[in-house]
């Protein structure tokens, strides 16, 4: 099956921390590890500048003047932006960590941090982002292909996925066995499925049925 990632850009590490020195130092560290980094002094500044199509992860300070890290997480969630978030904090605050994890944070690390730890966590987050973007891209592709099916082909596809035989399908739809065969072949071709199992996987992944 030929799946392509929609976005081939290099992922960026976005740093949101109101402490200038921390932002600067983290940026330098991440860049020294060969990753592009961009710093924002507030949650609002990040929201204004961020394009959700850009791959990457978010290093987010929990406590900031104005909009807090948790507030930003909430805002992103409402906007359906799924960028992985690594929370950074000076306090091992249990209540905040619980809220952050519930909100879908990838990670939670305490200042000051060891460079290997933070770079590993960033790498993990970026992998997760890539994976999730890939998954979303694949689903988008399946949905786009599904859009191209005729109503009859969609009916046939649903029945095929429901493990009906061609004979049963012909009987249900009141069409000839040969016609079912032709529809089925076109569904497999248009959807780019190699096998029945592949088609079923696609349907489940994209929640078509």
């Amino acid at each position: 099956m030929a799946r392509t990632t929609v976005n081939e850009q290099k992922p960026t590490v976005f740093i949101v921390d109101d402490e200038c020195a921390v932002r600067d130092a983290l940026g330098l560290l991440i860049e020294s590890a060969g990753l592009p980094a961009e710093g924002f002094k507030s949650a609002c500044a990040f929201l204004e500048a961020y394009d959700p199509d850009r791959p990457g992860c978010l290093l987010l300070d929990v406590r900031m003047k104005g909009m807090s890290g948790l507030d930003l997480q909430e805002t992103l969630r409402k906007k359906n932006v799924a960028i992985p978030i690594i929370f950074i904090t000076g306090h091992g605050d249990v209540a905040i960590s619980v809220r952050a994890f519930r909100g879908g944070a990838v990670d939670f690390i305490e200042k000051p941090f060891d460079d290997h730890t933070i770079l590993n966590r960033i790498e993990e987050a970026l992998a997760r982002d890539a994976q999730s973007r890939e998954k979303h891209a694949a689903i988008d592709q399946i949905l786009r292909r599904y859009e191209r099916l005729t109503p009859r082909e969609r009916e046939v596809m649903k029945l095929v996925i429901g493990s009906r035989s061609n004979k049963q399908i012909a009987k249900i739809l009141g069409i000839s066995h040969r016609t079912v065969d032709a529809h089925r072949a076109r569904v497999m071709e248009k959807m780019g499925a190699d096998s029945l199992a592949d088609l079923i996987a696609m349907a489940l992944e994209s929640e078509i049925v």
Partner: protein, 456 residues
């Protein structure tokens, strides 16, 4: 007879007339008529009567004078007695007075030295009568005293007459005793004299010192508590530069490994700056909690506010409180113990932060610190802290400055009480504005430091 025509009227004249008659010759006498003799006898009789009357009148007058004299003598006796009672009373008062009473003449010689003075200075009255009063003063003042009297006698200008003030006295054993001295002037005849009333302030000074020491102790404990309460904020405050330093240095190692040395220097510079910043936070905190003696020094209140704000910035951030400063520049210095005034500021700032922490997250949390000078009996600096919190209910205002009054589960309730004691020992005032439109407004004043305060 010629004498008949000029009849003597005075008894002496009459007598002389009668004698003259008797010295006449018997012939002449015989020539006198019975009427003449009778008339003479009558006259003599009348004169005698007059004389008797005069004697009587004189006797009356004499006895009246005598009575008056006796009365006067009685009066003098009574006055003398009264005077002696009065003198005894005065002596008793002077001697039993708690305060030392010393009188001197215009040469500074002592005329009176009461029992209390004996007790204060350790000299006996006999030792001191006639001695110069400068003996009771420690060296720097001793030599100047006669000059002072002379100057006063010449110019009428005095630094002490009519105004009591604190001075130092010297005891017989040479030790120095703090005294409250007031001097009055009086004249006896043409002599000008001075009376000094001295009170021993040793006890009072000791009480003040003890009170001060207790406040020092209490404020130190309270500072420790305050820093304890602020610990998480301070830890956060320290963590920031440490995080930055760690990250800069980790980046530096990678830069060295990658050979990109041109980026190394700025990164190291940044790390250094952060290390110094962390050191500054620790210095500030240590200065704040250190156990130390009160030291009053001219201080700029604005700088003190900046220092206090530096200690609680993290707490403000944690609680999303926006801190605004409206500091009047330039302001005259105040003479204060900077750590204690900083403690007052921190107490008030924390108080506001805590009051606002309970507000909904989207509420406007603002703390404004304002300085300015205000004119009163003398120029003072006024500091105002105004927050946008829920404010104080009318009945709370009466209690907040009492010790152990607290509305917080964690607080000791000493912050405001100690703050007020601190401000009052600095001769200032700390109060809360009962009519603040929204939120709470605390004010305190401090007198400005001026040269005249240090003068003798």
């Amino acid at each position: 007879m010629t004498q008949d025509k000029s009849k003597p009227t005075q008894p002496e004249d009459l007598l002389r007339h009668a004698e003259a008659l008797l010295r006449q010759s018997p012939t002449d006498l015989a020539r006198l008529s019975v009427e003449d003799v009778q008339s003479l006898i009558d006259e003599l009789r009348a004169d005698r009567l007059k004389l008797e009357q005069r004697i009587e009148a004189q006797a009356d007058e004499l006895s009246s004078t005598n009575r008056k004299l006796n009365e006067a003598i009685d009066q003098i006796h009574r006055v003398k007695q009264a005077l002696s009672i009065r003198e005894k009373k005065l002596d008793a008062i002077v001697d039993s007075a708690v305060d030392g009473i010393i009188t001197i003449d215009e040469n500074g010689q002592i005329n009176t030295f009461n029992a209390a003075s004996e007790k204060i200075f350790g000299y006996s009255e006999e030792e001191m009568l006639g001695r110069n009063v400068s003996l009771l003063m420690p060296p720097p003042h001793r030599d100047r005293h006669n000059g002072c009297i002379n100057r006063y006698l010449k110019t009428g200008k005095s630094t002490i007459i009519g105004v009591g003030r604190e001075v130092e006295g010297r005891r017989k054993d040479g030790s120095v005793v703090p005294l409250q001295l007031s001097v009055t002037e009086f004249t006896i005849g043409r002599d000008r004299c001075f009376a000094g009333i001295v009170r021993d302030l040793t006890e009072q000074k000791r009480n003040e010192r003890e009170k001060r020491a207790r406040l020092d102790e209490l404020s130190h404990v309270s500072r420790l508590c305050l820093v304890g309460e602020m610990a998480s904020g301070l830890a956060h405050e320290l963590n920031q530069p440490l995080t930055a330093i760690a990250s800069y240095l980790q980046a530096c190692q990678r830069l060295i490994d990658a050979g990109s040395l041109e980026k190394l220097k700025p990164a190291l510079n940044s790390a250094e700056r952060q290390a110094l910043l962390a050191g500054e936070i620790i210095r500030r905190m240590r200065a704040f909690v250190s156990k130390r003696r009160t030291t009053m020094a001219p201080t700029n209140i604005n700088a003190l506010i900046q220092e206090a704000v530096g200690l609680c910035e993290a707490n403000c951030r944690q609680n999303s409180v926006r801190l605004e400063l409206k500091l009047a520049e330039p302001l005259p210095d105040v003479c204060v113990d900077s750590v204690q005034i900083e403690q007052v500021l921190l107490n008030l700032i924390r108080n506001s932060i805590e009051a606002m922490a309970e507000m909904p997250t989207d509420a406007n949390r603002r703390l404004l610190i304002e300085t300015g000078s205000c004119e009163g009996s003398r120029v003072q600096i006024q500091v105002t802290l105004k927050d946008s919190g829920p404010g104080l209910a009318g009945d709370q205002i009466d209690h907040i400055f009492k010790p152990f009054h607290t509305t917080k589960p964690k607080g000791m309730g000493m912050g405001l009480s100690i703050s007020r004691s601190i401000i009052e020992t600095h001769n200032g005032r700390l109060w809360v504005d009962p009519d603040a439109p929204d939120g709470a407004a605390f004010h305190f004043t401090l007198p400005i430091a001026d040269g005249s305060d240090n003068g003798e």
